[in-house]
């Protein structure tokens, strides 16, 4: 259901759900289940379910929630007709943005086939910094891509994580880890949830982790507590960087002169300065050992330094005392943490008797592990300095020698990937052509400015300006700016916006009040600025009210789903895993799986991937598509990796198997391929693994993936911004920005919003956390879960609160530069004194989610997003740029600074702002107002 994707078993009585429990055979959750999963019944039978396709009544205001019921046929006609028109004229006028779904492979395919570049999922407002910062450094990341090996770790440092995607597996792991006697440190401004059970809580000021990590790095380098062997062989620490400003190659890694690169996209012929011969040698030359420190001159006179020397120089300024002033963490604690990490990594080393061969042919008798594991999530990611902070973390993990090693960080298939991964967008507007698929992917991984998706003037091609000079590595797009950009017509206006599974009128939008206005704003001639809005939702969300066409989706219990290797599979450390969902109850009302909707539309629009050359439909429905689709005809690669081949005898790659669904069903809906132990570790540099991965087409090349202590990719952008290299250059007003933030070495800067905030006036950082018992905005319709979180408070350190005369339970105003909310205060000793926080998305618009207009969610609950801006006045030309990381476009949710004040005595005890109550839509079940008692099989008893 949610992004964790646990295996569940649904028990029915007379066709109704009696009980949902965890599937004990599922590799992810091994039988356990969370609060939301156990409350699935109340989602399935929620009165907030949408059950009919709805069209905004002609003449009704958008957003007023006045709909007429229409048939699916009518909906398809309407959509197909409109979309065909757009596709023939200018496909980019259709934008498809999707939220927390698990079918980006399909939605992405649809967008690409349609020909629009305007496609992205939630990643940009979620955690793209985590993905990009890590993948551009170590070729993998946390999140679904990899994680801490807590089975073997001795020290576990968790940074900025409240609940996370991998929530049940992480909980299982943390508990085992603690019981084994592991030491668990949590770095977080707030102590709840996981942090509560940490052995040490390190409260930190939000947005300052970069400083902490750099200071830890400083200590490690100064004390020599780094794994030199690891750095030398598996990272580019020993590679020489051109530091000669006069030289052409200034800022780049130096490559072996005159040697052809086998794969030009991934140059690998770099140089070391050998300690023995005291001269430059190709990296990994047998017998050679590079200097990590020093400065040398090459034959042509160019001055070079090992990357590690540059890192050391960078780190000199970042002392523990310096970091104390920024982070609020005492210098002694910083030093102690560094020592704990370094000494545990060095002295608690694990040697597993697993022989393996590295990519350079050296045989290793054992797999070594330095048992210090990290995990980090949006506490690092959701800041506009997150990319560099996360680079610092990845480098810290590398210095400790913990990458894809036992007890450290472990990859999950299909990771590690090349740095950067091969997928690319088109490079310019010519990639978007009428009636043709997009000439590339809508989302890709730029390796250099040449890979940007910009026009001749360096202007953006995408509506969200991803892959432009504003956010060059916006690998997940910037969904949080779509509505504002489309409304303003900057870079252009669009015609139809299709939003799937995202509540863009509420919690996945910043500046919510204004964005809601934009959604139904009209231009001078009375036309809506965003002319047609299609929403596919399963529930009565705030967003659904703004739909012109509302498509009722099925729930996860009613449809087929795949957790695909092409998307975000559920792989384990020991090998690739993918999984499926199989419907257990029939669709409610006329709900239709969105996958089927896309396949229907693709067929009607005659998109090549969905039709035969003669224009006839290729796939009956989604299950049929899953079985028979291949990425290229005959490629043998499809959405599911298990039971491929005619009779299900192959895996990863093989012909379509008509009985694939059945075989998944017989195997707990999971395909799990366990790699031999010698392929399970050191995969970035493991020849056996790489060859296997190449054979099963996880990877194109079998090159080693060297950790990028010094990022050549970033250096390329910086060179472009400083006029080197002769390629594409940023427009003048963005040059400084690119030159500053594309630093090939990690550095600390205050988040962009803080840079433009008078912090004396707005002294407090305001952040949110996910409650474990709620999924974003959509669990308030759940009669059980909403009893646990009916409304929310702002948690404030009592000392901070009392400075303003605010007592526990008082009504207060919270104000940022961008907006204000009224809410209730709860004193808490478990929050850093300069931070205030609340549970995310508990507050609701009145009447939404089939709740009564006076429900706690809207009267006492509040949404922090009203205080957060989607744009900052930071562009050097006086314009506004997204409130996002300047490298990746990651939304800077946790950068806002606020002040608090007690509400006046006469003020109503009600949150502010309030919205006109949403009405219920046709087709929704009547709400049980007085009481209900659920009994499966029997009717849910209860009063009206």
């Amino acid at each position: 259901m949610c992004a964790c994707r646990c295996g569940i078993r649904v028990h029915l009585v007379d066709g109704q759900v009696r009980y949902i429990d965890g599937n004990p055979n599922h590799p992810l959750n091994r039988g356990v289940i969370c609060a939301k999963g156990s409350s699935g019944i109340m989602k399935q039978y929620s009165p907030a379910r949408l059950t009919r396709p709805l069209l905004r009544k002609s003449g009704a205001e958008r957003g007023a929630g006045e709909f007429e019921e229409i048939s699916w046929e009518r909906a398809f006609e309407l959509l197909a007709e409109r979309l065909a028109r757009i596709r023939a004229a200018d496909p980019k006028k259709f934008a498809l943005f999707t939220g927390r779904d698990q079918m980006q492979a399909l939605t992405g395919l649809f967008a690409r086939q349609f020909g629009t570049p305007n496609y992205a999922a939630h990643g940009g407002f979620c955690s793209v910094n985590m993905a990009a910062g890590m993948i551009y450094t170590i070729g993998g990341s946390f999140w679904e891509f990899g994680g801490p090996d807590l089975d073997r770790a001795k020290l576990f440092v968790m940074i900025g994580t409240a609940e996370d995607h991998h929530s049940n597996p992480l909980k299982i792991a943390i508990s085992k880890f603690k019981r084994r006697g592991g030491r668990f440190v949590s770095i977080n401004p707030v102590r709840t949830g996981y942090s509560a059970v940490a052995d040490e809580w390190v409260p930190i000021r939000p947005g300052t982790d970069g400083a902490l990590l750099l200071a830890i790095l400083h200590e490690l380098v100064a004390a020599g507590l780094y794994d030199r062997e690891f750095l030398v062989r598996y990272t580019n620490a020993g590679q020489l960087v051109n530091v000669d400003e006069a030289s052409d190659g200034f800022g780049l890694l130096v490559s072996e002169p005159g040697k052809a690169e086998p794969v030009p996209e991934y140059p690998r012929n770099m140089l070391w300065w050998d300690r023995h011969s005291n001269g430059p040698v190709p990296t990994h030359q047998e017998g050679a050992d590079p200097y990590l420190f020093g400065e040398f001159a090459l034959g042509d006179g160019a001055r070079v330094k090992p990357a590690f020397q540059l890192l050391e120089e960078r780190l000199r300024q970042y002392t523990a005392e310096w970091a104390e002033g920024i982070t609020g963490v005492p210098a002694a604690t910083i030093r102690r943490l560094a020592h704990e990490m370094g000494i545990t990594a060095r002295d608690e080393r694990i040697e597993l008797p697993i022989p393996w061969t590295d990519c350079w042919g050296r045989e290793h008798e054992t797999v070594t592990g330095n048992p210090v594991a990290f995990h980090a999530m949006r506490g690092l990611a959701a800041h506009s300095n997150g990319f560099q902070t996360i680079r610092a973390l990845a480098i810290l993990m590398s210095l400790l020698g913990t990458i894809d090693r036992p007890g450290g960080f472990r990859h999950k298939a299909p990771f590690p990937r090349a740095i950067p991964p091969a997928a690319k967008t088109p490079r310019g507007p010519e990639g978007v052509r009428p009636d043709a698929p997009l000439a590339g992917l809508a989302l890709g991984w730029p390796a250099s400015p040449e890979d940007l998706f910009v026009d001749a003037d360096g202007g953006p091609v995408r509506i969200d300006k991803a892959f432009s000079w504003e956010y060059p590595l916006a690998v997940h797009g910037l969904m949080h700016n779509v509505i504002t950009n489309a409304w303003r017509g900057d870079p252009y206006r669009i015609d139809t916006l299709l939003v799937f599974m995202a509540n863009m009128a509420w919690n996945s939008t910043m500046n919510t009040v204004e964005v809601r206005k934009m959604l139904n704003d009209r231009d001078e001639d009375g036309e809506y600025r965003i002319p047609f809005l299609v929403v596919c939702d399963a529930f009565h969300s705030e967003m659904s009210a703004f739909a012109d066409l509302l498509l009722p989706d099925t729930t996860y219990l009613e449809r087929h789903d795949v957790m695909s290797m092409l998307d975000r599979p559920i792989s384990e450390f020991d090998g690739p895993v993918d999984a499926v969902r199989i419907p257990v109850v029939p669709p409610t009302g006329e709900c239709k799986p969105f996958q089927d909707v896309l396949i229907e539309l693709g067929s009607r629009l005659k998109l090549p991937a969905f039709t035969h050359p003669d224009g006839s439909r290729r796939y009956r429905d989604y299950p049929d598509f899953i079985v028979n689709f291949e990425t290229e005809p005959g490629s043998g690669i499809g959405f599911l990796a298990g039971w491929r081949g005619k009779g299900g005898e192959k895996y990863m790659k093989g012909e379509p198997n008509p009985r694939q669904w059945e075989m998944y069903a017989q195997n707990d809906c999971v395909f799990h391929h366990r790699l031999p132990p010698s392929y399970q570790y050191m995969r970035n540099w493991n020849r056996g693994y790489m060859e296997w991965a190449q054979r099963v087409r996880i990877r194109r090349y079998s090159d080693p993936v060297l950790v990028q202590i010094y990022s050549d990719v970033l250096a390329r952008f910086r060179r472009a911004a400083t006029g080197r290299g002769g390629g594409r250059r940023p427009p003048a007003h963005l040059r400084d920005r690119v030159a500053t933030y594309f630093d090939p070495l990690p550095f600390y800067y205050a988040p962009l919003e803080v840079q433009v905030t008078d912090t004396r006036n707005y002294p407090l950082a305001a952040i949110t956390q996910r409650p474990m018992a709620m999924y974003h905005s959509w669990d308030s319709q759940n009669a059980w879960l909403r009893q646990i979180h009916a409304h929310n408070y702002l948690f404030v350190n009592p000392r901070t609160a009392r400075l303003q005369g605010i007592e526990d339970g008082d009504w207060i105003w919270v104000e940022s530069q961008w907006g204000r909310v009224r809410c209730m205060c709860r004193h808490s000793e478990a929050v850093e004194a300069g931070t205030v926080w609340t549970w995310n998305a508990i507050g609701k618009a009145a009447g939404a989610w089939a709740l009564a207009p006076d429900a706690n969610e809207s009267r006492k609950g509040f949404l922090l997003n009203h205080l957060i801006t989607e744009e900052l006045p930071i562009a050097s030309d006086g314009g506004r740029l997204s409130n996002s990381d300047p490298v990746t476009g990651q939304a800077g949710w946790y950068d806002v600074r606020v002040r608090i004040a007690k509400a006046a005595p006469g003020e109503p005890h009600e949150t502010w702002p309030q919205f006109a109550p949403m009405r219920t839509f046709p087709g929704m079940a009547t709400v049980r107002r007085l009481w209900q008692a659920y009994v499966a099989g029997g009717d849910a008893k209860g009063g009206p």
């Binding site: 356990v32 969370c34 409350s39 943390i174 709840t192 409260p203 474990m772 000793e829 209900q932 209860g942």
Partner: protein
């Protein structure tokens, strides 16, 4: 004599509430009758639950501990709620020590709830009888379930395995061992109710670093000449002392 019980490990409970809703879910259509919810979609929703997870803050910033604290009927060995019940609806089973309410006998007088110091009994406002944790009697003795699943719903659900289930009278059971070895304790021991459920306290793991561990012969800085040996010619104490 068997005394089944839960042992709750506060050292790993992260307050996720899975035990709360899995309990509700299992029990609402179970043999024990529904668990109703009032105002399910209106202001101040409220309902009957057998298990609640609470949060306490211990200490003062920055030395704060946040304690997530699950609580359901503790199946006291000497349950004060039982003798006070005028109808005999509340009873303690001899065979496994579970304290139960017979919904067919209960008159909803609430007296037993007054006699429970732990606040774990709840009247169902619509069935009008007293309810509380049954220790999932309808699961744990159900022979049609695989052995591994004859455990309470909340125990099966708990992602951190913070909820152990077993016979606290059997000294070799997992729960008895945990109580013995990890400092298991009872709530409000002052009342002599002898709760069968126990709690395991927080434990703190620390790493102690000796200063000499920071200086090591194999310091990698030496390889790069960053911790150079002093030159032989540099002044030394040897040159000046004599005795």
């Amino acid at each position: 004599m068997t005394q089944l019980a839960l042992v709750i490990d506060l050292n790993v409970c992260v307050g996720c509430q899975a035990c709360v809703t899995s309990c509700k879910e299992w029990n609402t259509s179970g043999i024990a009758g529904y668990l109703s919810d009032d105002r399910p979609y209106d202001a101040d929703p409220t309902g009957t639950f057998f298990n609640r997870v609470q949060t306490f803050e211990v200490g003062e910033y920055p030395n704060t501990q946040t304690v997530h604290f699950p609580k359901s009927c503790l199946h006291c060995e000497d349950p004060p709620c039982v003798p006070v019940c005028p109808t005999g609806a509340s009873y303690k089973r001899v065979e496994d020590g579970i304290v139960l309410v017979d919904y067919d006998k209960c008159i909803g007088c609430k007296y037993c709830s007054w006699a429970c110091p732990y606040g774990v009994r709840e009247v169902d406002e619509h069935q009008k009888v007293m309810k509380k944790c049954t220790l999932c009697v309808d699961r744990i003795h159900d022979r049609s379930l695989p052995r591994a699943e004859r455990r309470p719903a909340c125990v099966m659900a708990c992602p951190t395995n913070a909820r152990l289930f077993g016979d606290v009278h059997d000294p070799d059971s997992e729960v008895s061992v945990a109580i013995r070895e990890r400092g298991g304790y009872q709530l409000m021991p002052e009342w002599g109710t002898h709760p069968a459920n126990h709690y395991l306290p927080r434990r703190r793991t620390q790493i102690t670093i000796q200063p000499e561990e920071l200086v090591r012969a194999d310091n990698p800085l030496k390889v790069d000449g960053k911790l150079p040996k002093p030159a032989l010619k540099e002044p030394a104490l040897d040159d000046v002392t004599s005795w």
